[in-house]
Amino acid sequence: MREIDAGLITKEVKRLAIEANYFLPEDVLESLKESRDGEKWELASATIDKIIQNAEIAKENQVPMCQDTGMVVVFVEIGQDVHIVNGYLEDAINQGIREGYEEGFLRKSVVKDPLDRVNTKDNTPGVIHYSIVPGDKLSITVAPKGFGSENMSRIKMLKPAEGLQGVKDFILESVELAGPNPCPPTIVGVGIGGTFEKAAYLAKKSLMRDMDEYSEDPFYEKLEKELLEDINKLGIGPQGFGGNTTSFKVNIEHYPTHIAGLPVAVNINCHAARHKQVIL
């Protein structure tokens, strides 16, 4: 049994929360540059250019790239041979969020009750997903999620008869309905299969991928690339002003499902695709 101190977890979550908000992942920045260079429509390339400039200013001045520093989503993979000592894991993570959002000058955007709507003033709690995996390591991915894009999420329980075409139509319809709202260019996360909540979880999980990471299943990898092309034929473009780059990546995660079901969930990420990981 390997022991990991809860205090270390707090320290790392704090660091990841701040870094995720200040520094756009390099591979996302590179993808944006490629999109800009590929845009022949002037307003579209000029718009992506400003988004790139923004990321550079945020990095240089160490300030949040977006004022919506999000609700913090955390994916934790706990090796089954790990023992957390000197505290409770969930408290340690929330303490990291609390310290990171205070010391990093990040916006506190969480309300305690969805109807009462009083701000918790420290951006806690996060939304934390745990999975138990083999080994003695602890992986923590911190992903601040802005609600401009989160609010454009959709889920539908399709009939099996609707099949692949039904899935494609639902994804395209979701991007169409979202239009300029989720701050395009976006990354489109899709979860197919499982149950109602599993599909939503997979859609969110898919957004944690690196830019050069596609589905391990060649069928789904092909589908990801096809859907990206179809989405970019919509012409919504950067910020919805018109252009080729409505999205710059489609990620699909899938899972076995019931004989009677075909759940599909779409979770859109804005261009500020923030996530940082540490392995302890």
Partner: protein, 186 residues
């Protein structure tokens, strides 16, 4: 075409604006989002005075991050505007002339923009660090308890925005995309 505007705005100022124009705004504008809008409309319902003069005013839909030492304001990009759709026509009827946000508005807002000779601008969503550079000062003038959602009076210099809905009923989210698709098909 690049244009400049100085606040407060008049119907005359906005006559020349067309969907798609790049505009640079200078002067005082006010920040407000969901919770502040609910309170503003409550004041209007009660026939009370607003915390700022709405005549010719511009509201920026934003909840900035806390300012670091030496900054006038933290990162300050636009939030999605549709959440303010149910409130915006009331404020335009009270004199509001400009709104800055991002994303689509409903028909009620578009009709009110035409009726009142107002305008809806978009700033670039997510470009919060870049946009903050054109904010020179910021002061909370109401609802401090709302934190990031408090109403701030901010002074902006050459604040870059794009006209989405003009006073003639045009909508860049429809026309920009249409123009691009027509061009792309050629």
């Amino acid at each position: 075409m690049k244009k400049t505007l100085t606040t407060p705005l008049t119907v005359e100022d906005l006559k020349d604006l067309k969907a798609g124009d790049d505009v640079y705004i200078t002067g005082y504008i006010y920040t407000a989002r969901d919770a502040a809008h609910a309170r503003l409309v409550e004041l209007l319902d009660e026939g009370k005075e607003l915390p700022f003069d709405p005549e010719g005013a511009v509201i920026y839909y934003v909840g900035p991050t806390p300012a670091k030492p030496g900054q006038a304001i933290g990162s300050a990009g636009p939030t999605t505007s549709y959440r303010m759709d149910s409130y915006a026509p009331r404020l335009m009827d009270a004199g509001l002339k400009g709104m800055i946000g991002k994303g689509k508005r409903d028909q009620g807002v578009k009709d009110s923009i035409v009726k009142n000779g107002a305008v809806y601008f978009a700033a670039i969503g997510g470009a919060a660090a870049l946009i903050a550079k054109s904010v020179k000062s910021a002061e909370v003038i109401a609802y401090e308890d709302l934190g990031a959602e408090a109403i701030r009076k901010i002074y902006v210099e050459d604040f870059p925005v794009t006209v989405i809905n003009d006073s003639y009923g045009n909508d860049l989210y429809m026309s920009g995309r249409k123009e691009y698709l027509e061009w792309a098909e050629k």
